[in-house]
Amino acid sequence: MRTRHAYLERCVLGLLEGRAVLTPKDRYITAIEHREPDLVPIDISFLDPIHVERILDRPTFGAGAGGGGGGVVASTSQEETLGLNEMMVRNQRMENEAKRKIGVDALSVSDYNVFPPGYRPRFVSEDTYVDLFARVYRVRRDVKTTWWVDGGIKTPEDLDRWVPPDAEEMDYSIVDLTVEEAGDEYPVVAWVHGSMMFPYLMRGGIDKLVFDIYRQPDFARRLIRKVADVNLEITRRILDRGVDVVAESDDIADCHSLFFNPRVFREFFFPYLKRLIDECHGRGLKFMKHSDGNLYPLLDDFVGLGVDGLHPIEPNVMDLGDVKRRYGERFFLRGNVDCTHILPSGSEADVRRDVRRCVDAAAKGGGFVLADSNSMHSNVRTENIRVMVDEGRRYGKYPIGRG
């Protein structure tokens, strides 16, 4: 309610100052359509539960951080009784509330957090479990953390035995909830996955999938296709519920360069990426590609495939201003306040300086959303998130002549 009040207050102030004031949704959509809104829109890719708890001053549910790439499991017997889907709905409601409270311009949902009804991960030891994509995670309940350690698809026979989740049976309550809470005021960004990341997690590492692609390509192709097909079906059902922007978040690069040769991407993965992009465009939705790392060698391919936006243009690896100059008319850019060093350990002045760097580099002419450079992970200082939003609001006022 306070947030709504603050929003109305902004509108009134804006009108008094003679500025047009847009809703966060209008602001966001205007920006990604390469036009200048009233303010640079601000977004957060994923807000770790620790920040949600600090912002709202009450606990979230479960151990782990689903939207950030880990798994989430019940950490208490009470949560075990609730079940994962109910935990996810409660966490999603809290995340939405925390984002509105901190003042960003978008809500988001992640396919990491949709499960079949009654689903429970299969524990193979006290602290290790296998999820529905045969990915193996380890959990430390004392610090509410999970992390990926291995994959369950060791052989072609394992792949034959693996039954993908049935997209039709999954519970999409978190999407329905978020679309409803967003209403006409906020855009909803759907973070989904395609064909390029789950296969190496399921195989137990990039090295395993690399070996498959070079030495047993038919196995690699079968695995990639199986993952691409189920993820497309899950994405379709998320899109059916009325989200506004699609962010495909398969990580495909490190700080040096790509995991695979561009030739491999074109042969093994891009047909599925194109299929996913066409699905989004067919519904009139913008498609944003996320990957950490150095994506320079693939940017021209992305243009050809129809990618509309890029995130995060990793700082110290890619140059936001350079990408804006070379590809700014083709891609909207989302990023890239440094969450590796500055948001976790920088001072207030460091964060403000980094926000100004981003705005100066990419905001002119629209086509820019200010956001973190991956996620608001657990090592980020919560206060620095507030500073990022505050500086984004102070400095990110159009018209912006720099850049």
Partner: protein, 214 residues
Amino acid sequence: MVERGSVMGAMAQALADLDSTGLRKLVRGALETGIDPEGIVREGLGEGMRLVGERYELGEYFLAELVMAGVTMNEAMDLIRPVLDRKRRSYVGKVVIGTVEGDLHDIGKNIVVSMLQSAGFEVVDIGVDVSPARFVETVKLEEPEIVCLSTLLSVTLPNVEAVVHALERAGLRGKVKVLVGGRCLNPEMARGIGADAFGVDAWDAVVKAKALLS
């Protein structure tokens, strides 16, 4: 009689091109003609890995080619190891290496193992997800000059320090050098947790390992 230099050059080229079949054929031929295995490892495979690194730095190769270069080199090493083991190798030093507890990543570690072996180190690879206690037991048993600790994940970073402390508690720290490497570390952090050296990559790890023994 094929000239030794051209054989080594062909091996280096085959490895750089990730041509496992061609490389193994060349290695078999070289061993049959009596070319010393140490020379094959250093001048043939070592040079091949240098070319791979060069192509990677130039952006012609990507992580996948680095992985496959490691696989290709290991397949060649499978032919060379028995011959090397039969001969007395010029002994550089002994290393115990493992990925610390909680981390199952071994791409980097495996490349370091290959590079150390090709540089003449005897390497005891104790795998991934290795507890501090197991590092201590292995150091007691193998008596290496160096322990190499690998980790990728920041969540397992405390486990690197735990190994250093465990070695201290066991009274072994004065007898063994600790070399660490991995994406989540940097030289300052390595010093902070009490390591003797930090390898920024596999090539650097070999340089640092040699420096620790000098």
